[in-house]
Homo-oligomer: 709 residues x 2
């Protein structure tokens, strides 16, 4: 790689005050990074063109060479398949005439004479700069198909050769590249190498905001970037505040395990936010010290009230703000001086209403004093291991291992309602709002090492610093499932997001790729996020990919099978001995194979025997139960035998994921509750949810490399 060469070219472009590199310049920087391009030379006269064509070898391509003409084809500036001197000469003349007609003011530097690559399969490699994630690399099929079928995939740059090879396998058109109808495979290695080098190029020169190698001709041996363009930007890439993970964890521990909390703007008037916060912290059972701060009040809910934070005769860890936005920066300075390092900014009235300046000011002051800020524009936060309900909503005290965060207050309330309704224990519920400072990555590092948290589910409208999220998630997802609901998935949704909490929702395919790349499980619906989180805390990690359906309702078996396909689950093929073993328990007309259809008229014992067999056979890794309400096996009878079988297996050290779909009359609801009390996720009137939650477990376990561990 000749970095110096690239630098010279870019310097020249910058000196010319241009943003767009010419094709020649782009190819020169490609060459400097060993990205193969066709042989090329600039001819200023027809005679030179003929001479160069002879040197390069026929056939050749002629293209107009001008910094002012971007759309060369539109300008009549491209002639291909030129096979003789006569053709080259007339092409040269024609291109010049066309170009002058197309843009009389254009600075025409000559005509590019290029070797013409033989026809080949076309691919595209692009490097774009995303405001959230920085440099990204795209790979896809070239030609009109990349546009029509959007058959492309993304990665954060830089990409290694092996990552680039993975990308190629991800697109739908992969078989075309591998060769169909007897065609040979393209040289994947050559393409991967181009992707790697292109990604290195954009990393080394951040000012290259876009690099487009399109098309690249992919041959059986080798590959050539036939056309290329690059765009420079003068914008500085945004710098993010990124303390080292250890420092983040230290800061977060102080915020989540505070020995004392001050409530700035506490109030004795019910209905006021400053009242609700003190009340909820009290009712929630917080054992630390609570210090209400208000200039005029003497006592609030039995606590002595202080005029300002400096008067508090104690080291305060966290200050919860319940004051109007305009006073916030000033008070951040006060708490900073008093040594408080966590500021919970409940107030709205910042970026979400256009007051970006006020928000920036708050952050500026906080940085000065080393204060980390949560919010603004939030409901507050809960951390049940400390009985901490620092929020104006309602106390939530059911302890559990799921942490949840939301960017929107409304979604936060849905989390609380759902958790309460479905009796889901949580470790934390955190409002992130405008995310002026604390972001998902901070929480990921904290929950990653928090022994009270096993799963972290996030509602995200945008990521402020996608790179940090990526790095934190990639690390932590190896140990704990991270779930995300990315709102603003669609263009309309993203538009709604921009007018909410000041968020800029990014390009969804990049989010999709990044979540995959860092092992984050994506939910596409609010209810899925909540159900996945709830089920993941109940389910163990499967030992392998073999999923078995045991059902009393053939019809459920069909729907459960459909759902398995939808959720990337593998219905195992039963070995003959195992099939035979199941047959012993089921009527002769029960269906063979998987699903194991025990048929509808069976007593609880048949469910029990088959489920036990499935639990005890090591070839079965996960079990989906499809119950059908009958007189012979009423819902609670089913629930009891399942509970027994699973608990007996657990006592023997066998712990497999078991999920259940119960179809039947309303009594199935009670049976579902019974099963869930025994950590068997069970759902009435649906054949999809149980399979979807099992699918989520598998997605995480695969990404974390846990399957078969």
């Amino acid at each position: 790689m000749e970095k110096e060469k690239v630098k010279q070219i870019l310097d020249k472009v910058k000196a010319d005050n241009r943003h767009l590199l010419t094709e020649l310049e782009t190819k020169e920087i490609c060459m400097a990074y060993d990205i193969p391009v066709p042989t090329q030379k600039v001819a200023k006269t027809p005679e030179e063109a003929i001479e160069f064509a002879r040197e390069i070898g026929y056939p050749v391509v002629l293209k107009i060479h001008s910094p002012d003409i971007t759309h060369k084809t539109d300008a009549g500036g491209v002639k291909v398949s030129l096979k003789s001197e006569t053709e080259v000469k007339s092409a040269f003349d024609e291109i010049m005439t066309n170009a002058k007609k197309y843009d009389p003011k254009a600075d025409i530097l000559g005509v590019l004479v290029q070797s013409m690559a033989p026809e080949a399969r076309e691919v595209i490699i692009g490097g774009a700069t995303d405001p959230t994630f920085g440099k990204t690399i795209m790979f896809g099929l070239g030609g009109v198909f990349v546009e029509q079928f959007k058959d492309v995939t993304f990665r954060l740059a830089p990409v290694s050769k092996s990552e680039a090879l993975e990308m190629m396998q991800e697109i739908k058109g992969y078989p075309i590249l591998k060769g169909v109808r007897g065609e040979p495979s393209i040289d994947f290695d050559a393409i991967a190498s181009i992707a790697e080098k292109a990604s290195q190029l954009v990393m080394d020169f951040p000012e290259i905001t876009e690099l487009d190698l399109n098309p690249i001709f992919a041959f059986e041996k080798g590959a050539t970037a036939v056309d290329a363009r690059a765009i420079l930007t003068t914008d500085e890439l945004k710098e993010f505040y990124r303390p080292p993970p250890e420092e983040i964890i230290r800061q977060m521990n102080r915020i989540f395990h505070p020995k004392s909390v001050a409530v700035i703007g506490a109030s004795s008037k019910p209905g006021k936010i400053g009242y609700s916060v003190v009340k909820n912290m009290t009712d929630g059972g917080y054992k630390g010290k609570i210090y209400p701060v208000h200039p005029k009040e003497e006592e609030i809910l039995g606590y002595k009230c202080y005029k300002n934070i400096k008067e508090v005769p104690d080291k305060v860890d966290v200050a919860v703000f319940c004051i109007p936005a305009k006073f916030v920066p000033g008070v951040i300075a006060e708490i900073g001086e008093a040594g408080v390092q966590g500021g919970i900014l409940i107030p709205s009235g910042f970026a979400e209403v256009g007051k970006q300046d006020l928000q920036d000011e708050a952050v500026r002051v906080a940085r000065k004093y080393g204060v980390r800020l949560m919010g603004p524009n939030i409901y507050g936060y809960y951390y049940t291991p400390e009985d901490l309900c620092a929020t104006f909503c309602t106390p939530y005290t059911e302890r559990g291992v799921v942490a949840l965060s939301s960017q929107s207050g409304g979604v936060g309330m849905a989390i609380i309602g759902f958790s309460r309704s479905k009796k889901m224990g949580v470790s934390a519920i955190v409002g992130l709002g405008n995310k002026c400072d604390l972001d998902e990555d901070d929480l990921i590092y904290f929950f990653g090492q928090d022994p009270n948290t096993q799963i972290f589910a996030m509602h995200v409208e945008d990521l402020k610093d996608g790179r940090s999220f990526f790095e934190a998630a990639k690390k932590v997802s190896k140990e704990k499932p991270l779930l995300v609901l990315k709102a603003g998935r669609t263009e309309l949704g993203a538009r709604a997001a921009t007018s909410h909490t000041g968020a800029m929702a990014g390009v969804d395919p990049i989010y999709e790729a990044v979540f995959k790349q860092c092992g984050v499980i994506r939910a596409y619906a609010l209810n899925d996020l909540l159900e996945f989180a709830r089920a993941l805390q109940m389910l163990p990690i499967p030992k392998g990919e073999n999923v078995l359906i045991v059902t009393g309702a053939g019809g459920s078996g069909v729907l459960l099978s459909d759902a398995c396909v939808d959720n990337d689950l593998k219905l195992m093929t039963l070995d003959p001995d195992l099939d035979e073993a199941f047959r012993e328990f089921i009527p002769p007309f029960g269906a063979t194979g998987n699903p194991v259809d025990i048929t509808g008229g069976q007593p609880p014992e048949t469910y029990k025997s088959t489920i036990e067999l499935a639990l005890n056979d090591p070839r079965v890794h996960s079990i989906i139960l499809g119950y059908w309400h009958t007189i012979i096996t009423p819902p609670m009878a089913f629930a009891r035998v399942v509970g027994e079988a699973v608990e007996e297996a657990r006592a023997k050290g066998i712990n497999k994921p078991v999920v259940a779909s119960l179809v039947g009359d309303v009594e199935v609801e009670e049976a579902c509750k019974y099963l869930e009390e025994r950590d068997i996720p069970a759902y009435p009137y649906t054949t999809e949810t149980p399979v979807a939650v099992l699918g989520a477990v598998y997605k995480w376990a695969r990404a974390a490399g846990k399957i078969g561990e």
Copy 2:
């Protein structure tokens, strides 16, 4: 069209005992139906080949011509782009040598000399015979892309030219055909004409089980089927029993409005199916006569019991069978002789356990006596307008306008449980099981004219007679929403279906196309089917496509917008005056446009004013509400203002679909119930379901041409 010509060719192929037509034969039948193919002639010697090439004009293509060589390219039997006599001669010799080597026993008839069509965009038109739907037509992009991207669409044959034009617009590659990058459009008319003629050809000659025009070269003017193949079958197409709709309706009315019901195999022993049926009919409140039939019992649950049906001193409309499978055909003859025309076959033990013969026998006997059969292998049926619970399950008596059917008993129980739990009134719940006779089409005709039914939702594993379903659904869906959950969507699911109720689950893309073609709304999940049915009964038909979101939670607004895109709903653009009108009610920092974000701190009045505005403005056609639980507007306060506003509007004759998503603490569940009692579908902890059900209304209304009526 020269039908006679086609007949001659097919007769010859049949006489040869062949199934596969040669390329030449296939193209000859194409020509007979005016489907353009390249000029072609069969040469037996190199000299003839040269002569024909001269006649046809260079360049030419040479292909081996043999009924025994199907894979011509594999056999080295195709040479293209031949431009001279020398090339033609050597190609001829090479092809002959290759072919003899490839299959020494092949009957080689010569070499096909064809004009070589200029390069063009490739499409494919295929005609296949589906066991359920009969003749279908496929259209797609040709080349390797049809295989990789599966960018194809289907219709039942015959297709008109305008339907064929519609098909072309449905594929993802449509823009490629229309012309990208300055390319001209292909000649859609010429392609549509080929599709129309191909569909006519396979309709006229049902023995052509497959016709493949692949590729067709599509030019700016005209099109040519460059390659073509056809396969004949000797199988007879299955004939279905299809009484005229009026007759079906007459039969169904007798089954659903019986004045008297006999229970064959009634029993006085609790736990027996024959006992449960009599008990449920009694407990359900059936007002007609109940006649238990049993050879030995005297009295059952207070009813006089008869030895056999002939002893019953009354005209009986329906006989419910609760006897072992093997006795069923004999008793069908008895009830037929006694004038009963409806047989409800609860017993299992027929095709689903491999006893197809016994089932066929039952049908044969039934046909003889004009008896229609429901089942076998079912739970029975419910029809609430007659308080009829002819089932061994439990009585269900909540009257409503939704009819549901299921092929699986398990799914039927889920329907009952869901309906009871969610208080959904139904008109009918019908078990169809093996569908030896009565099928969804019979029910569609009946519910189509049934004043007690407004919506019909079906769980389907397979359709026995897809054509009849199509015709019935196409007609009835214009007036009443038809919903379908097609189980066995995926290959795995379909495999499970084949081992259940003896169903053969068809090829899903064809089902997908057919449902669309006949205006049936498809649900992809059991819970969706049930929720759609429940919501559709509450919602009026929208007057137009303008959907407005009013939300107190910006975060919900984003998720609701995403869901609108997922469900093909159009978020209206607000005219400035309307936008202005909303602004009067909301704080200055509330978001502009759609979603209308009233922001979180607002009192109930703000919800009320904005909702009233949306209800009263005729430009708004449907409303999605996104509620956020706050202290200022608790859930029930929201529910009450919404209920009031909607009811006031209804009193003024304004009836728009209104759906609601409620995010908040558990009190939102009570608020949802309150709203649903007022026919406003409302869901807690989800932003997807309310939008999905509104989407279902739109899908139906669009297909039925009801929007804007």
